[in-house]
Symmetry: C2
Subunit: 162 residues, 2 copies
Amino acid sequence: MDEPRWLTDAEQDVWRTFVTMLGALGDHMDRQLQRDSSMPYTYYEILVVLSHAPNRMLRMSELAGLRGSSRSRLSHAVARLEAQGWVERRECPTDKRGSLAVLTDAGFAALAAAAPGHVTTVREAVFDRLSPEQVRDLGRISAAILDGLDPDKTLPGCRELG
Amino acid sequence: MDEPRWLTDAEQDVWRTFVTMLGALGDHMDRQLQRDSSMPYTYYEILVVLSHAPNRMLRMSELAGLRGSSRSRLSHAVARLEAQGWVERRECPTDKRGSLAVLTDAGFAALAAAAPGHVTTVREAVFDRLSPEQVRDLGRISAAILDGLDPDKTLPGCRELG
DNA sequence: CCGAGCAAGTTGAGAGTTCAACCAGTAGAC
DNA sequence: GTCTACTGGTTGAACTCTCAACTTGCTCGG
């Protein structure tokens, strides 16, 4: 195993702060939604994506793709959302293997009820604390990182144990 | 429920990108560590913190505080790490309620084996993709967000249903 | 000393995620 | 047509995290 390029002290500082913020922010958002609307953040996002889709309806795999979620995760999640009456499954007419997830009226109502509190939380936690330049920077930084993650899913040159 | 200040289109874009990056990066880091070193990222971080502590030993609550983790979570995690032989629990001599978590030699070795791959992943996923200014910005932005999250743990003015 | 209250940790149940295995249905090659 | 390979989606077990009890021990006013 070759020595990797270790992080400088400054980089370590940034990484620690970043990772801590990541965890704390995730917890914060999750707790707010769970407390006020009885749903985890990931489920909220599923409802959001469905609400924007034509006829509030999407194939499972499209939904998974748009959310960056695994098929399995989505399947479990939709099962739960279906049990709550917020989503319905329907057969796909053009491909008998497929399933369609449809947002119900109850689901739309739940989303509408959850949205204001969620947006307020996002605003207070993030946008109200950053300057316009920082917001712009955050967008670019996020895009740059995401760009390197999205395509491959697997690590480039990191597999040479032995 | 008053109308919240909704996000502008630009803010929504940033938020979506940011959140997507958050999830993808977390998955990426977790998967790498799980695959190459059979531990989730949160456990890796516990080992790191312990390895920096005097005598590689910390009170459970200190460890939880340093990691921003709940007592319960840490207790479960240490139980698991203990079963793997990477950490040991000891009684606290000054407070019989307390527990000390101690990093074992095996734990230190596991950490040493995991570190290079982890650092390489961090470098490739984040630091190699950002300019020095962006790295600095990321640190400041993270600190600003964290700053608003750390103290209260509860939402400021977001509880007025009815 | 004693009791009330608080702090440190653990535990168990419930919920979400992952991974690997698994059906079913589609698509191409022949 | 049929055989094979692949895709869409589900399922079950193992694992982690959360939340709410619960146990134990410390602390401090009386």
